[in-house]
């Protein structure tokens, strides 16, 4: 790599395609660090990691769906519903584990419904999950009339530790996030489940002919997505100390952005666990850095959109260049 002449041009393009997004992220990071006094401090970096933990976990679930070639539009609204379910069960039973179980069951149920409609009934995933998202939105409004549910003072300690606690200086959600990142990378790259999911994303018909139960695996990806939303929603509710029916809605657009960024990195056009982690870092870093610079929130949306389009365009252009050469 020292002598540029020895590097094949194709390899350079391939390198750019796989790591260009990471280099871009490093560039943005450096700019923030230089421009903002408060950005590159230990406290802010730990806060950034805590902020990104929920988005990362949701996007990791989305990675499964997108890896199998699907799409899940219901995640934002589902997060809100699970906030409420978690809080309601927690308050009425005072049992954190029961509440957690209810939240995960609720997420899995939404995933089951999504997956059944998409994989077994055969509706287009975009429309079906969008409609389910709408139903979920209606349900949570019906339950709460739009009002938040506040935790009373005597809830179990662990229920606030999940979102607010620290291990040493590290926020606990960050530890959870890292655990899930490692778990997902492992499952997607090393196990039959991951292999089959990407095979379905790569060619669903060939996967069917190869004996893979395509419907069942697609259903599984939606259930995983639902469960990951549940885990993120529990962290969110715990952190806020209250269940906000509308909290978590921004996860939808951010998770989509993260997974598209993820497809531009490392893999061959499919989202990967590590790519999703880096993508979530980029999106969260933009949110955090722009806030640090006192950029109004509406301008943050514009910037995020531009960055995502930029990243995807570059990776598509580079991929095309590679294909033509081969």
């Amino acid at each position: 790599m020292d002598k540029p002449t020895s590097v094949n041009k194709n390899q350079r393009i391939e390198f750019l395609r796989k790591y260009g997004t990471v280099l871009g992220a490093m560039l943005i990071f450096t700019i923030f660090a230089v421009v903002s006094k408060n950005f590159f401090t230990l406290n802010n970096q730990l806060m950034l990691l805590r902020q990104m933990s929920m988005l990362t976990i949701i996007a990791l679930g989305f990675t499964f769906v997108m890896g199998a070639g699907g799409f899940d539009m219901s995640i934002g609204n589902t997060a809100g519903l699970i906030n409420i379910i978690f809080a309601m069960v927690l308050i009425s039973t005072r049992n954190f584990w029961l509440a957690l179980g209810a939240a995960i069951a609720c997420g899995a149920l939404v995933g089951l419904v999504n997956g059944t409609i998409v994989a077994y009934i055969g509706l287009p995933d975009f429309i079906a999950t969008f409609a389910i998202g709408s139903i979920v939105y209606g349900l949570k409004m019906l339950i709460t009339r739009g009002n938040p549910i506040f935790f009373p003072a005597d809830i179990p300690k662990i229920a606030s530790f999940i979102g607010q606690g620290y291990v040493g200086r590290i926020p606990f959600p960050v530890i959870l996030m890292l655990f899930f990142v490692v778990l997902v990378i492992f499952v997607l790259t090393k196990t039959t489940l991951g292999r089959r999911i990407y095979a379905i994303g790569g060619n669903p018909v060939a996967s069917l002919y190869a004996g893979i139960n395509v419907k069942r695996y697609r259903l599984i990806t939606f259930i995983i997505s639902g469960i990951s939303v549940a885990i993120a929603a529990v962290i969110l509710t715990s952190r806020l100390g209250s269940a906000q029916p509308l909290a978590g809605e921004e996860f939808l657009l951010d998770a989509i952005a993260v997974c598209f960024l993820s497809t531009t990195m490392f893999g061959d056009g499919e989202p990967t666990g590590s790519g999703t982690f880096v993508g979530a870092f980029i999106i969260s870093m933009m949110n955090n850095g722009l806030t640090m610079l006192n950029v109004p929130y509406y301008f943050q949306y514009i910037t995020k959109g531009v960055v995502v389009i930029f990243a995807v365009v570059i990776s598509v252009v580079l991929a095309k260049k590679l294909k033509l050469k081969l």
Binding site: T191, R195, R196, G202, A206, Y209, A210
Partner: protein
Amino acid sequence: MLGEEVRKDTDLMLSTENVGKEFNGVWVLKDIHFQLKKGEIHALVGENGAGKSTFIKILSGVYKPSAGSVFLEGKPVDFHSVTDSEALGIRTVHQEVNLVPYFKVYENIFIGAERKKKIGGMAIVDSKRMKKEATKVIKDLGIDFDVSSPTLLLNASMKRIVEISKVLVHNPQIVIFDEPTTSLGEEERKNLLQIIKGLKERGLTIMYISHNLEEVMEIADRITVFRDGNQVGTMEKSEATTGKIISMMIGHDNYKHYCRVDKYYCEDVYLSIKNLTTDKLKAVNLNICKGEMVGIAGVVGAGKTEIAKAVFGLDKIESGSIEVMGKPYVPSPENAIRHKIALVPEERQAEGLVPNYCVSKNISLTYLKKYANRAGLINRVLEIETAQAYIDKMGIKCTGPLQTIKFLSGGNQQKAILSRWLNGDFDIGIFDEPTKGIDVKAKEDIYSFLEDLAEQGKAVVVLSSYLPELMSLCDRIIVVRDGRIIGEYTPQQPNAEEKIMHAMLGGGA
């Protein structure tokens, strides 16, 4: 024509001098001196990877040659894009059909070149004129057809005609046909060849690329053979024979025509299909035995693939039943694999490959569990080693188990798909058009591979619309037409080929 020595150049429509193409330091095409005479049908043949496609892409402006030059009617031309070559009257009929299913036929024919008329200063689409012109173009091909029909309902051969019409409305001088008879049945193939001959009579110059040497011998005036990016030779049809072309293509003379001795006997019935009726099949009865090689012949759309699909649970069964080794069997892909049935589908790209996966991941896909422990953790080392063993055994040309499969040639992709099934020790193998679109050498390899399987005692079922293949491979040949089994033949019986052909085509009966 040979007597006219004077002004040699004037009868040349297109020629190339020293044309070559290099990718990353590798010359995939070298020193091509190709001459296309006005009004001829010039066939270009060669194995996959011989450089045919690259050459066509240079002529049609997709690639710029890395060396040499292209001349059109004696004048050097420099194409920067497909638009440039099209402007000079060079058009290609591609191998794949590319039509908008919801468009009417004439709308597809004029796609991107809509005829317009002005009403009040506004240009609007002139459907009437397009219909008229499209009708004429199709009629000139000798076909009577309503151009307002929806494209969706056309059969494969009619779609092909629409593709050709799409090119003809531009009044091209040179038409390049890239494997135009792929996915057509015997009769449709013959019709298409007639149509192409008709184009020649109308003065068009034609380049014809095909794997099918019978076709080439039937249609071409001259034949050029490519091998490994070199032009091995160009000959008049009168001096060409199939054997000669093949030896030029593969570079040596050991072309072997497989012919099995009659050793058909039925001990154990492996697969038994009883009164099977689906959307496309009508009361099909079929027994497949241990160690035999059965051919199922039929034109495209006759129901061959549908039998395979029904066994694999991909088409809904309306009535009838299937038994495997004498036991009832409920069709589904998973169940088929559990019952040791393998299916190598016809559409390699659409139904066989995971294009972005490497060779090893494609090979392990079906029997992935063999490489994984109970928790589902894949033993990647074992997987790669096994893939390497198959690469060696099957002679798959690739850079290694980690090469992405989409970059392999068709024949090598097919060998990888076959390896995928070999992994699992199947008893009944169904091979749907196993040599479709692959080169001669790979075909030979696959034939001998299929024979080995039968030797080992597996039941081998080959579905094909290419009769010579079945004649040389199979112990018996079952003919399917319109979803019914209408006869069974052995290749040894007198006049078998004529009889089978007659049965396949219906022969007016």
